[in-house]
Symmetry: C2
Subunit: 87 residues, 2 copies
């Protein structure tokens, strides 16, 4: 496959990834509202550790675990900001 | 829905997101090999801008564009490291 073909594949993957990130953000927002209603803190380190452990188990390469964690730490950071902002 | 139900949904979404990130990394790796063979640089700012523009158009909320970009900048940063490392 040529570079242009791989790039088309990446564009298609991004369409799916962004749609899933949007759904994940909706769920995070709903959790933010529930946390506010129950008086729970936004930052729950145990849950964040569990998410990262789950993600690490799902890693199917070729990224190393640390690289995948690097992406997910940013994703969770952004989701936490959303929970603080939109509720 | 309760917090636990949303968290189950997030875990399921993470399974899909990680699988797609793995596929995206495979494609990035293949592009890295092709770039090396053709003597092209790993960092191509025009292509990276095009990816970010595409992602911005796909944003279906509730994240703001800047928040989604924040995630994708990290994702692309990691993919660039992979292209430099694994070829």
């Amino acid at each position: 496959m040529e570079i242009e073909d791989w790039r088309k594949q990446i564009d298609e993957l991004d369409e799916q990834i962004v749609a899933l990130i949007c759904k994940r953000a909706e769920a995070a927002k709903a959790i933010g509202v529930a946390k506010r209603d129950k008086g729970l803190p936004v930052y729950e380190p145990q849950r964040e550790d569990a998410v990262l452990e789950h993600v690490k188990k799902l890693n199917c390469g070729p990224l190393g675990d640390a690289e995948l964690m690097h992406i997910y730490e940013r994703l969770m950071d952004v989701m936490r900001t959303l929970q603080r902002r939109d509720i």
